[in-house]
C-alpha cells in the first residue's frame, strides 16, 4: 500500500531535480547552440582564409600546446613529489600551486610583469640570458602556463596518490627500483588522471585572456591569441567575433574529445579491474 502523501513528495522531488537539470543544461548548452546556428558554414570557411584569423588560430594552438608541454615537463616531478613524499614546506608548495586558480588572471598578468618584466625581479637575469618575455610569444606561453599549471598538477597528483600502496610494494619486491615502479606501475595506473589534467590545463591555456593581454599585450601574429582576437572583433564586427568563437569552440572540442575519449577506455578497464579484485 502506497501512501499518497509520500507519492506527492516523491513526485515533487523528481520534478525539482528535472527542473534544475534542464535549467543548468540550458545555461550551458544554449550559448553553444546559439554560436553554431548564428554562423553559416560558408561564412566560417571565408573567415578561415582571412590571414588575421588564421594567425590568431595558429598562435593559439601553438602557444597553448607549448604551455601544456611545459607544464607536463615541470609539473610531473612536482606532482610525483607531492603524491609520494612528505617534506618541510609541503603545505606552502600546495598553496602556491593552487593560487593561480583563485587569482584573477589580470592580477596574474601584473604579477608576471613585476617578476619577469624588463625591470622586474628576474628581468636582469633574463636579459643577460637574452630572453625577453613581455610582449613576446614566449610571454604568452608563460602566462598560459602560469594559469593552467594547477589543473595539471592537481589532477595528476590525485591520480598518483590514488595508486594503491600494494601495487608499489609488489613491484618493489619484483626487482624494480623506484624509477621503474614509477614508469611501469604508477604512471600507467594514473594515466587517466594525467590525461584529464592535460586536457584541463590545455583548455585553460587555450581560453586564457586576462593574464595574456596584461603580460604579453595584443599584437597580431605575435601575442594576439584567439580569445584576444574575439574580444577585439566584438568591438566593431559582431559577425567576425561569432565566426572566431565558433572556430575556437571547434578547436577546443576536437582536442578535448581526443584527450577524453582515449582515457575513457583506460578508466573503464582500471575500475573494472579494481572492482573485481575486491
Amino acid at each position: 500500500m502506497r501512501r499518497p502523501a509520500r507519492n506527492w513528495a516523491g513526485l515533487g522531488l523528481r520534478m525539482g531535480v528535472a527542473l534544475a537539470a534542464s535549467l543548468l543544461l540550458l545555461l550551458l548548452g544554449l550559448p553553444l547552440i546559439g554560436l553554431v546556428f548564428r554562423v553559416p558554414p560558408g561564412d566560417l570557411l571565408r573567415r578561415l582564409r582571412d590571414p588575421l584569423v588564421l594567425d590568431a588560430l595558429r598562435l593559439s594552438l601553438v602557444t597553448s600546446t607549448s604551455a601544456t608541454v611545459l607544464i607536463l615537463i615541470l609539473g610531473l616531478p612536482v606532482a610525483y613529489l607531492l603524491a609520494t613524499r612528505e617534506f618541510p614546506g609541503k603545505r606552502v608548495v600546495e598553496v602556491l600551486l593552487e593560487l593561480p586558480m583563485v587569482l584573477p588572471p589580470t592580477v596574474a598578468g601584473v604579477g608576471l610583469l613585476v617578476a619577469f618584466g624588463r625591470t622586474g625581479l628576474a628581468g636582469g637575469v633574463l636579459h643577460a640570458l637574452g630572453i625577453s618575455l613581455p610582449f613576446t610569444t614566449l610571454g604568452v606561453v608563460v602566462a598560459q602556463a602560469f594559469v593552467a599549471a594547477p589543473f595539471f598538477v592537481g589532477a595528476t597528483r590525485a591520480g598518483l596518490s590514488g595508486v594503491e600502496r600494494r601495487y608499489l610494494d609488489a613491484a618493489a619486491t619484483l626487482r624494480s627500483a623506484p624509477a621503474r615502479v614509477f614508469l611501469r606501475v604508477m604512471l600507467p595506473l594514473a594515466l587517466p588522471s594525467l590525461l584529464a589534467g592535460v586536457a584541463m590545463s590545455w583548455a585553460r591555456a587555450l581560453g586564457e585572456f586576462g593574464a595574456t593581454i596584461t603580460f604579453a599585450g595584443n599584437m597580431p601574429g605575435v601575442t594576439q591569441t584567439m580569445p584576444l582576437a574575439v574580444y577585439l572583433a566584438l568591438q566593431n564586427d559582431l559577425e567576425a567575433a561569432l565566426a572566431l568563437s565558433v572556430l575556437l569552440l571547434a578547436a577546443s572540442l576536437t582536442v578535448l574529445l581526443a584527450l577524453r575519449l582515449a582515457p575513457l577506455g583506460a578508466i573503464a578497464l582500471s575500475t573494472r579491474a579494481d572492482h573485481e579484485l575486491h
Binding site: 594503491e164 600494494r166 601495487y167 610494494d169 609488489a170 613491484a171 618493489a172 619486491t173 619484483l174 626487482r175 624494480s176 627500483a177 621503474r180 611501469r184 606501475v185 600507467p188 595506473l189 583506460a266 578497464l269 582500471s270 573494472r272 579491474a273 579494481d274 572492482h275 573485481e276 579484485l277
Partner: protein, 356 residues
C-alpha cells in the same frame, strides 16, 4: 638458512621476533590477526625497516641496524605473495609474471620461456593473454605465486595465500600449493592464522602471539608438547600447567591455578595435556566406575562443528579449568548439547599426558 632477530613498533604492537628458517622446508608463521605476522613478512621483504635488528640469508647480510646497513627490497633475492595478490590490473597475466624478469633485463626469449614454465608449474598455462580481472580467485592466486616463483627467489614469503579464496577453491588450491612448495629449495615462510593450514604446510612451525614468538618446533613437537595455553588452543587441545603432588584419596594430582587434576605421574612442575576426544560428556553426574577419574561440571560456552562440514563437534565448557571436548554429531543430538546447558565432563587419569 635465514636468521633474523628484530624489534619494531607497529602502532600499539611491539614486535620482538627472533627466528631461523632452513632452506628446502616450509616454515609456517602462525598466529591470530594482529599478532604481527604481516609486519614480520614486510620486514623480511625489506618493505618496512625495524627499529633494531639483523637479518641474514646464508652469507648475505640484508639488514644490520648496528652498522645502518639495509638492502632495498628490489635488491633482495625475495619472492613475496601478499594476501590480496596485488596483481597489476593494467598488465596481462604473462606481463605480470614477467615483470620481475624484465626488470632484470633478461632477454625476451629467456623471459618468455621462464614465464611459460612458471605458468605450467602453477597450472595456469594458456591464461597468459588474460587480464587479472578476468580470472577467478583461484587463478589470481596462482598468477601471484607464479610471479614470485619465476624469479627463483632464495627467500619465498607467502602472506595468507589461501585466505581470499572460498572454501571449495581453497581446498583444491591447498593441495596443489603444498605440492609446489615441497619441491622448492628456497627458504619458504608461510603466514597463516589457520591452525589447519599451519599443520598442513608447516614442517617447521613458529607461533607468534602478541608480537612475540610463543613457541617454535616441528609439527609433531607442537602437537604433542604445546608449552603455552595459546599454542594448545591453536592446536585445539587442553593444556594445564601446575605442580605435581599427591593426595591420599585420588593419587597423583596436578595442582593448577584453577583447580586439581588427577593424573598417573608425580613430582615437580609439569604440563598436562588432555586430548579432547578422551573427554566424555554427560547430562547427569556419572555413577560407578569413576575411580581415578576427573569429573568437572559447567555450562556449555560454544558448540563448533570441526571441521566446519565434518561429523565431529567441539564443545567448549565453562568449567574450572575450561575444557574442550570433541564428540560426534550423534552425541550432540542425543545429549541435546546447546550453548548454556549444564553438563558433566570426565576423563581418566590415564588419559592425561604429562610432560615437563
Amino acid at each position: 638458512m635465514l636468521i633474523t632477530s628484530f624489534t619494531s613498533r607497529r602502532g600499539s604492537l611491539q614486535l620482538e621476533v627472533s627466528l631461523s628458517a632452513p632452506a628446502g622446508v616450509t616454515t609456517v608463521l602462525v598466529g591470530e590477526s594482529g599478532a604481527g605476522k604481516t609486519s614480520t613478512l614486510r620486514i623480511l621483504a625489506g618493505l618496512d625497516s625495524p627499529e633494531r635488528g639483523r637479518l641474514t640469508l646464508d652469507a648475505d647480510v640484508w639488514l644490520d641496524s648496528e652498522s645502518g646497513h639495509c638492502v632495498s627490497p628490489w635488491e633482495r633475492d625475495v619472492g613475496y605473495v601478499s594476501q590480496d595478490y596485488a596483481l597489476f590490473p593494467h598488465l596481462s597475466v604473462a606481463d605480470n609474471i614477467g615483470f620481475g624478469l624484465r626488470a632484470q633485463r633478461l632477454g625476451a626469449p629467456l623471459i618468455h620461456e621462464r614465464v611459460r614454465a612458471a605458468m605450467e608449474q602453477t597450472g595456469i598455462a594458456g591464461l597468459g593473454d588474460q587480464r587479472p580481472a578476468q580470472l577467478s580467485g583461484g587463478q589470481q592466486q596462482r598468477v601471484a605465486l607464479a610471479r614470485a616463483l619465476v624469479l627463483r627467489p632464495r627467500l619465498l614469503l607467502l602472506d595468507e595465500p589461501l585466505s581470499a579464496l572460498d572454501l571449495r577453491t581453497r581446498r583444491q588450491v591447498r593441495t596443489e600449493l603444498r605440492a609446489i612448495l615441497q619441491g622448492l629449495s628456497s627458504v619458504t615462510i608461510y603466514v597463516t592464522h589457520s591452525p589447519i593450514e599451519a599443520l598442513l604446510f608447516g614442517e617447521q612451525i613458529v607461533v607468534l602471539h602478541q608480537g612475540r614468538v610463543s613457541q617454535r618446533g616441528s609439527r609433531d613437537e607442537l602437537l604433542r608438547y604445546p608449552r603455552t595455553r595459546y599454542v594448545a588452543e591453536l592446536m585445539g587441545t587442553n593444556l594445564f600447567r601446575g605442580t605435581l603432588g599427591s593426595s591420599a584419596e585420588s593419587g597423583p594430582v596436578l595442582q593448577t591455578a584453577e583447580g586439581g587434576l588427577s593424573l598417573s605421574a608425580e613430582g615437580g612442575e609439569a604440563f598436562a595435556l588432555v586430548d579432547p576426544t578422551n573427554i566424555t560428556l554427560y547430562r547427569e553426574p556419572p555413577t560407578g566406575g569413576a575411580s581415578a577419574q576427573n569429573l568437572f561440571s559447567g555450562p556449555i560456552l560454544e558448540v563448533v562443528p570441526e571441521p566446519p562440514t565434518g561429523d565431529r563437534v567441539r564443545v567448549v565448557l565453562a568449567t574450572q579449568p575450561v575444557l574442550v571436548a570433541e564428540v560426534t554429531r550423534e552425541a550432540v543430538s542425543a545429549l541435546a548439547l546447546r550453548e548454556g546447558e549444564r553438563v558433566f565432563a570426565s576423563f581418566k587419569a590415564t588419559g592425561v599426558r604429562v610432560y615437563r
